[in-house]
């Protein structure tokens, strides 16, 4: 590369211009790193503050001015969090609900997505428009009747009430249909010629090919369910059904709000799993967001 740039530089005397060009090739605009690093620091400051606060003893938290690094780091906040509130149970509830909702969306949305993208049937266009048309409807429009419905189904006392309304979402159909339309028709036609049954084509040939889309939908759905807050807050009737965000919200609005350390530890427990999931799968996640343009 250095020989190439030497050849391309017509004036041998301009050593500095050459070096500047080389820097630019590997780094882009070097000065831009300063504002970008500043912005990055601003963006992640809340997370750093949270992490440090969760390890601070009560004396450090009340300190004015505050310190970023705890003087005597302690895990007492976490200990108290799990002993006073049933955070273990809430954690389990969050996981169960998120896994069930994710599984439902993966199955039902890919099935309908395939029917809409690759099969022909009467009413196809109507089904598509009906499902997509609800993407714009605010959650609050369906909120009240949904609550009345779930209450009358006697589901407000069980985790099922947190799961059922979210098992099949229009967004998932949109994403799966987008992806499935890109698969070649010849694949399906060839399988038909070979005598493969329609449902077997979907299960044995198409599904294995949709892994990237399923991964994207799975991560998005899991995160959405994990962070879902208002519905579980309203529907969960007692502590045994609380999910993590509900528990944290009630703890922070209650008498213990002065205990910052415990709340920040709670925030860490809520945020850490999704951050790990995101960092592990961020490639698929970002690709999914970019192709669908939706969150």
């Amino acid at each position: 590369m250095s020989t190439l740039s030497t050849l391309r530089t017509p004036h041998p005397g301009t050593d500095r211009a050459l070096r500047r060009r080389r820097i630019r090739r590997t780094w882009g605009q070097p000065w831009l790193y300063i504002p970008l690093a500043g912005a990055l620091l601003l963006m992640i400051t809340p997370f750093l503050w949270m992490l440090s606060g969760s390890f601070k003893p009560e004396a450090d938290i009340r300190r004015i001015p505050p310190v970023l690094i705890p003087t005597a780091p302690t895990t007492a906040n976490y200990g108290e969090l799990f002993s006073t509130l049933d955070f273990t149970g809430m954690f389990a509830n969050s996981v169960i609900v998120a896994l069930a909702v994710t599984a439902g969306n993966l199955i039902f949305c890919s099935m309908l997505g395939y029917a809409l993208a690759k099969l022909e049937f009467r009413g196809q266009r109507a089904v598509f428009l009906l499902v997509m048309g609800t993407l714009m409807i605010p959650g609050l429009v369906t909120f009240v009747p949904l609550y009345v419905l779930v209450a009358n189904m006697q589901l407000t006392g069980s985790l099922l009430g947190l799961i059922l309304p979210f098992l099949a979402t229009p967004f998932g159909v949109f994403l799966m249909r987008q992806f499935l339309s890109t698969l070649p028709d010849e694949l399906i036609d060839a399988a038909r010629v070979d005598g493969c049954r329609e449902l077997a084509i979907f299960a044995r040939i198409i599904l294995p090919l949709t892994k990237p889309a399923l991964a994207t939908l799975g991560i998005i759905t899991f995160l959405g369910s994990w962070n879902n807050f208002l519905w579980p807050l309203v529907v969960a009737q007692n502590e045994s059904q609380y999910t993590l965000p509900v528990g944290l919200a009630l703890a922070s609005s209650g008498q213990s709000f002065t205990r910052f350390g415990i709340l920040l530890a709670g925030a860490v427990v809520v945020l850490l799993p999704v951050m790990i999931v995101f960092l592990l799968f961020q490639r698929q996640f970002v690709a999914g967001i970019a192709t669908t343009g939706l969150k």
């Binding site: 090739r25 590997t26 831009l32 970008l36 990055l40 400051t45 809340p46 503050w49 949270m50 001015p65 505050p66 039902f108 099935m111 309908l112 029917a115 099969l119 022909e120 049937f121 009467r122 266009r125 089904v127 598509f128 499902v131 714009m136 409807i137 959650g139 609050l140 429009v141 369906t142 909120f143 009240v144 009747p145 949904l146 009345v148 419905l149 009358n152 099949a168 229009p170 449902l199 979907f202 962070n227 807050f229 965000p245 944290l248 919200a249 922070s252 920040l264 709670g266 925030a267 860490v268 809520v270 945020l271 999704v274 951050m275 970002v286 967001i289 970019a290 192709t291 343009g293 969150k295």
Partner: protein
């Protein structure tokens, strides 16, 4: 929907139900029909589970909600939701007579009008800086800027409340270094809503950035080189070449972010409860409070008004950002 439609060829008798969309000339027509029948049957089998759940938990509530807004449904009717009386547009009339609702609408309007452009601008700037400006550590910046998007609002609210604590919070401490006496932020009617706007930009610029990055990467390099040869500077190249190509992606993000912002709810709900003095009361929070007070009719009506506003904003944005030619 179908891209496979071919011109019909001499189809003969025994045409029973659907018109043929495909001509598979080699096969006899009876077989062709049953093949299509099998396909349709498979399609409905695949569609049925989703559609059943969708009908119960989406379509039914959407229609029911409209009906509720036209009746006098209260929380007392929870177990007998059909035993209510029709009141016509009475609920909507009462809604529009409620000054608090207008106040909530105004707060939501301010929030959308300020936060939406800021979010789009911040996300676009970040995307351009990462795509055109730098070459190393792109992934680090991308992950860092995107991180707030995936976070739980409840956890984030807890953290921001401690950051904004008037005395022991980090924000006022930093302001103190510069000799500024920071306000009480969330307890101050002048600052509570702006704080939420900043928080919304912080939480959403990552989404805009990711979509814009994908858009920027699809701009052909040859086009940029041609513009450069024609003597266009970087500024001109961006506004004359790149930006018009980003338009569709920008429109999409503006619409989806706008839909989200019009439903502005989580931040005031967990951080201020709408206060102080209703200064952060949003339209959706108003509707939720009506629900909490047992006025299911008012909550549904307010929900429908927000829905109409969302449709209006979406149409407006399509008009504004549509390709000029």
């Amino acid at each position: 929907m179908s891209t496979k439609t071919l011109p019909e060829r001499g189809d003969t008798h025994e045409r029973s139900t659907a018109r043929p969309k495909r001509s598979a000339g080699r096969r006899p027509s009876v077989l062709r029909d049953t093949a299509r029948g099998r396909q349709a049957r498979a399609a409905w089998i695949l569609a049925a589970p989703f559609l059943a759940l969708f009908a119960a938990f989406m379509l039914l509530p959407v229609v029911w909600s409209l009906l509720m807004s036209l009746t006098d449904t209260k929380s007392a009717d929870l177990r007998t939701p059909l035993n209510v009386s029709f009141t016509g547009l009475d609920t909507y009339v009462r809604l529009f007579q409620d000054e608090q609702f207008f106040h909530a609408l105004r707060n939501t309007g301010v929030f959308v009008l300020v936060a939406l452009p800021l979010t789009l601008a911040a996300g676009l700037t970040a995307a351009v800086a990462l795509d055109r400006g730098i070459r190393r550590f792109r992934a680090v910046f991308r992950v860092g800027f995107y991180l707030p998007v995936i976070t739980s609002i409840v956890a984030v609210a807890v953290v921001w409340r401690t950051l904004l604590e008037p005395r022991s919070g980090l924000v006022n401490t930093v302001l103190g270094w510069f000799g500024i006496d920071g306000p009480a932020w969330l307890a101050d009617t002048r600052f509570a809503l702006p704080v939420m706007i900043v928080m919304a930009v912080w939480r959403n610029l990552g989404t805009v950035m990711i979509i814009m990055l994908a858009g920027l990467q699809s701009v052909p390099q040859s086009l940029m080189e041609a513009a450069e040869l024609d003597g266009a500077g970087p500024w001109q190249r961006f506004w004359r070449v790149t930006f018009p190509l980003l338009r569709p992606a920008l429109l999409l993000t503006a619409v989806t972010t706008g839909i989200g912002y019009l439903q502005f709810f989580d931040e005031p709900f967990v951080m201020t409860g709408g206060g102080p003095l209703d200064s952060t009361l949003s339209a959706t929070l108003y509707a939720y409070n009506q629900f909490g007070n047992g006025n299911y009719d008012m909550a549904s009506a307010a929900g429908y008004i927000i829905f109409v506003l969302i449709v209006a904003l979406t149409v407006l944005q399509f008009r504004l950002l549509r390709d000029k030619d």
